[in-house]
Subunit: 427 residues, 2 copies
């Protein structure tokens, strides 16, 4: 299936940004709006893109499309003032079967696109949870088809999401309309065709019109990036609230790997400081724990995740934990039997991660997804670090090792039991 | 596709075994010959089995088939003395498309069956690497078809593997032959039909005729079970030579999980003893390392592998390593700075496993398969344990910690570099 992207419009409300940059190439959370849409479409099997733009933006789109290795046709609309209906008409020579039409200035979450591709006609949203309803194009539906469409409709059933799945016979209707009118908008085509509607409600999509819209979309994408991670209580109710704020600021400027390294450096500094002053070291350790979320949030929100990034981050986390605990132990100057407890705590911290990762290596699923009880098991990294910080602050370093030596190994033991219990169930 | 299994013959050369047990139900390396064949066929997509047996063995086969949840039809040949050609004829009402015919007393390795299923006609082996050629049925081939077949053929091209992929029209030939003869062997049908031959050479398959054959097959299956494991040098040239011998003895009597627990107990004893006497502890630790291979060998050879088994074994290995190193450290009574080295060694030992397992969890492939250089990287468990034993024997405990602290972290560092290098390569 091919996708036609309408990108010939001249952004007028974006302030100085739009003078140089077409709306589709404005970055939202570290990636161009179109990169996002096209990458998701590509993952869902769209194998070629037909981009309609105006002569002014030709160069910029060409460069963007080449850089990202998309398979594309760039079509120039010499008369952008004739409306986006006319732009769509120019795609006619390039499509011969069912195709997707999508606006270049709409941001969609992945699930939205995945759902929308299952439908036919105009994709509408009855909820418009994330959209400025006033500005949106409204749709009146009758018998599953568009009865009326427009921004000013007083009575309406749903919002136009700017996403269409069309058959080539639509061009006959467009041809007829073009003969009658100098300027043709997509909405007029939709109405004339009495297009079927397909509902995808409640998911994130947004028409990016103003700099405020960019901020709003960015905020959503960062929040959406923490879904499904095996977060502990501290992460959920404390760390993520801070890390997402940091990510919102940094996502446009920082690469995930740099954040990984920065957070590691903070961790190592935490270890060095902890040796001299456990309370300050403990606070820095907690800062490392917060920053530890940022690289992943940025990477997912900006569609910059990499397997190596995830791998490298995990290894560095283990080293930070080790060095902080070792530094605290050295501060404590334990006797030989206290060293046994320290060793148990150090080894146990590594084993918590090992026991969950080894599961994934064996079963090829995340243990938190496979075994729901794991979510409620205390002793994840964020929880251990928070506990360490608190005990550093109240000056009970020895308690850190005693509790960690207990918690970590109990956690590993329970994990093994849960894995075995699950294995025994009939499949 | 269905598979017809010919199991009506009365074993005559198995000694007292065959009086009670049909040949197909004799255990080779902890599993009935038929369990092995049928499980592999099932994995390869065979969805129903037609088993032809005689009235004497009816009960035993029924019990076996029910216990293992196979989808089957049990067909009784009231006249087993009429030959296995007659047995095959009895399968006629149950097959309507291409089907497999296989002997109940042949052991095949997995790859053999996978290859054989790609062919048509009689599957032959030109090498007979594992088979007693004297006893085997020989095949003379002309133009890709059977020209002659028999045990006594003087000139022949290949051996009959007892594995066939047939079309239902074979039954017309059988019907004709049955009218002419009271006793009908499969070989006569093959010859009369001028069956196509399909070559699968050099892989393991064996006709189990005598108790010696059972031993030979068991030996092969155990040896075959160590293929593809990420073994270090010590494992390859020392541990496996001993562990496979142990596995050969134990495979018929011991469950893999019991071996896992036994090997763990030996490891814990090694730790306790190491605290008092490092040389003896070191030797016991090396014994644990050898025994550590047995559970996996038994499990694979007996087709008893389980994900939990692999998972549990890995966790226990980490604990054994930890306790042995901790015990040796306590024996050494280190000062505070020596404890730093001990901690690095303990943590590093866990990290070697973590860095390879985390890879599998992220990339969903074994790191030894994905990155070939990993095989040559020193510091795998078998190598670390052997080094520990040697240094225990010569009384240089402190050197254990110094070398482990270095080797393990260098290994983790190199692993991360190799992973990154691989990620950078174009896919």
């Amino acid at each position: 299936m091919k996708a036609v992207i309408l990108a010939a419009g001249l952004g007028t409300r974006m302030g100085k940004l739009s003078k140089e940059t077409p709306k589709g190439l404005i970055k939202v959370a570290g990636r161009e709006i179109l990169y996002r849409t096209m990458k998701i479409l590509e993952m869902e099997g769209i194998d070629e893109f037909v981009i309609i733009t105006n002569p002014l933006y030709k160069e910029k789109f060409g460069e963007f499309l080449r850089k990202n290795n998309f398979r594309y046709q760039l079509v120039i609309n010499e008369f952008p003032e004739r409306g986006n209906g006319y732009s769509l008409y120019l795609a006619r020579p390039y499509v011969s079967e069912r195709f997707v039409v999508v606006m270049s200035d709409h941001v969609y979450e992945e699930t939205f696109i995945r759902e929308a591709l299952k439908g036919k006609g105009l994709v509408v949203d009855r909820e418009g949870k994330f959209t400025n309803t006033e500005e949106a194009t409204k749709v009146k539906i009758e018998d599953g088809r568009v009865a009326d469409i427009g921004k000013a409709l007083e009575e309406y059933d749903a919002l136009d999401t700017g996403f269409f799945v069309l058959e080539p016979d639509i061009f006959e209707i467009i041809e007829k309309l073009i003969r009658e009118k100098e300027k043709l908008e997509l909405a007029e085509i939709v109405k004339e065709a009495g297009l079927e509607v397909f509902e995808v409600s409640g998911l994130f999509w947004m028409d990016i019109d103003t700099p405020e819209d960019i901020k709003k979309a960015k905020k959503f994408l960062i929040r959406n990036a923490i879904k499904g991670s095996g977060d502990g209580v501290i992460s959920r109710y404390l760390n993520r609230r801070i890390s997402t704020k940091i990510s919102e600021v940094l996502v446009d400027y920082v690469e995930p790997i740099h954040m990984t390294l920065f957070s590691f450096v903070v961790g190592i500094i935490a270890a060095v400081v902890a040796f001299i002053s456990p309370p300050i070291g403990g606070l820095l350790y907690q800062l490392n724990s917060i920053l530890d979320g940022v690289d992943g949030e940025i990477a997912r929100a900006a569609m910059k995740t990499s397997k190596f990034g995830g791998y490298f981050d995990s290894i560095l986390d283990r080293y930070v934990d080790f060095f902080v605990l070792l530094a605290l132990a050295l501060h404590l100057r334990p006797n030989i039997w206290e060293w046994v407890v320290v060793s148990l705590a150090i080894f146990g911290s590594a084993m918590v991660s090992y026991s969950t990762e080894r599961y994934k290596g064996e079963y090829f699923v995340d243990i938190y997804k496979a075994i729901s009880q794991m979510k409620y098991l205390f002793g994840k990294r964020d929880e251990r670090i928070f506990l360490t910080m608190i005990l550093c602050l109240i000056g009970r370093i020895e308690l850190i090792f005693i509790t960690l030596a207990l918690i970590t190994h109990i956690r590993v033991f329970v994990t093994v039991c849960l894995v075995q219990k699950k294995e025994k169930l009939p499949k």
